[in-house]
């Protein structure tokens, strides 16, 4: 039996009296790679921010690793990559090492200090993502793709069991985007990191994710890609051609891996 990493029950979120999410219930299990998709304003980012405890105006229950979000304290088990644009915090005067080391604060007790082993952990994760050469560069001087990898490194440095990514490929070109998806997919497959990723790019993310959660204020669809491919509801949302395209991407990628 897989561990229930995220358990959301009857979640409704309001923003300035307006409903943003209604009656959301779903579970994510250890090792899942869930892509959250939907049109602009459908509540994707609100959903993950509420799961992370960043939104207070909600009803329902959210449990992370079996513990209610209100009392959740094991932040080190979660790695988060927020939605950022290439230009955001452009002039911030911090090196890549300093930024990535932030990810270790969740495992440190007061007073939080950086030790030699922390620098080693930072260098190890930079090396794993093949960006060790950037360690002394200022974050503001990196390209969009490099910056996203650095923020992914920050999310991974505490060795989390759950990785939450909010539109991580928005500012990336197609090649950097594929590289990024490949990296996350490898983490999911090789070290069994559970992934929850918001993406506009249903077709590409479909190539790597194991499940799709389609939102439109409510959950329109939540299931595996095999179920997605035969869902009439999804045919209506995506159109038969788009649905077929996503299924081909997903199946093609998995067949490649089998062969």
């Amino acid at each position: 039996m897989s561990i229930n990493v995220i358990e959301v029950t009857d979640l409704s979120v309001r923003y300035q009296q307006n409903p943003v999410l209604e009656n959301i219930s779903f579970s994510v299990y250890a090792g899942d790679y869930v892509a959250i998709a939907g049109t602009n304003g459908c509540g994707k980012t609100t959903l993950i921010k509420t799961i992370l405890g960043l939104s207070q105006d909600y009803s329902g229950t959210i449990k992370l690793f079996g513990e209610k979000i209100e009392s959740f304290s094991e932040h080190r088990r979660i790695g988060y990559l927020p939605q950022t644009s290439y230009l955001s915090r452009q002039g911030f005067p911090a090196t890549v090492r300093e930024i990535v080391a932030c990810g270790l604060l969740s495992i440190k007790k007061f007073p939080k200090r950086t030790e030699k082993k922390d620098i080693a952990s930072v260098d190890r994760v930079l090396s794993m993502l093949k960006i060790e050469r950037l360690k002394d560069k200022l974050i503001g001087r990196l390209s969009g793709g490099e910056k996203q990898r650095v923020l992914l490194a920050r999310a991974l440095v505490s060795e989390p069991e759950l990785l939450i990514l909010d539109e991580p490929t928005t500012s990336l070109d197609p090649s950097a985007r594929n590289d990024f998806y490949e990296t996350v997919s490898e983490l999911n497959k090789q070290i069994n990191v559970t992934v929850l990723m918001v993406s506009h790019d249903s077709a590409t993310v479909g190539k790597y994710a194991s499940k799709l959660l389609y939102l439109n204020r409510q959950i329109v669809f939540y299931g595996s890609f095999q179920e997605f491919c035969i869902s009439n509801e999804m045919s209506r949302y995506f159109g038969k051609f788009e649905q077929h395209l996503i299924c081909r991407q997903h199946n093609g990628n998995n067949n490649d891996k089998i062969s």
């Binding site: 405890g53 005067p93 090196t95 080391a101 932030c102 604060l105 969740s106 200022l138």
Partner: protein, 271 residues
Amino acid sequence: MTKFLEILHFEFVQRALISGIFIAVCCAVLGVFLVLRRYSLIGDGLAHVSFAGVGLGLMLGIYPLYVVVVLALLSSWLILHLSENSEIHGDAAIGLVSSVGVAGGVLLASVGEGFNVDLFSYLFGDILTVGKAETYAAILLSLIVMMVVYLFYHELFVLSYDEEYAHTLGIQTKRLSRVLLILTAITVVLGIRIVGTMLVSSLIIFPAVTALQLAESFGKVILTAAIIALISVVLGLCISIIADLPAGASIVMLNFAGFVIAFGIKRIVKG
């Protein structure tokens, strides 16, 4: 220079130097976090409120800086509360509180004509009149501020870069923001004695912005800002004594010169 060294033997000059260095370094270190969090003008806002506080203190016959501390703390809480719990952005919240402060100060000045001279002396400060008790207070409070910054350095760093991300790490971001503003309010009050309410925000903004031009890492920005603050106070005081110029304005103009040089270096070196 000989004149400065001679004058250095006077206790009032030593007090001015010591309190000036402690307060300016505090302002500079806090300034880095405030500038990066886009709260640069909070010093300005709190200083304007302090203007009203000085007026109120003089009118009630209470030592003005006691009233100023209370008003500055209340105002910093109000600014944060407005920007966190309403649709009002931080800069607008600072603007609101700031203008009420200035208006209050002007009203008090017009009502109490007898203390106008004292009130206006607080506008531009006078570091050379800092007393013994004020010097001890400056040292003690500066040490407290520096200790808090040292203990929460990493939390303040991540809060400055991305507040939401800091929250996901389990950091009490709202509490930490309050601590930062309380420290700022205390430092601003101390800074008023050096450069006055009109110029105190320059002690917060200039060293930080100058250090940001030369930045190679966050740690170095903090260190550079502190060194710039220290040099500007020592040199500013030196110039003011030698050339018989107002100390506060000299310190600010030196900070400006430092910024121009750093900005030029950045343009030349980094292109």
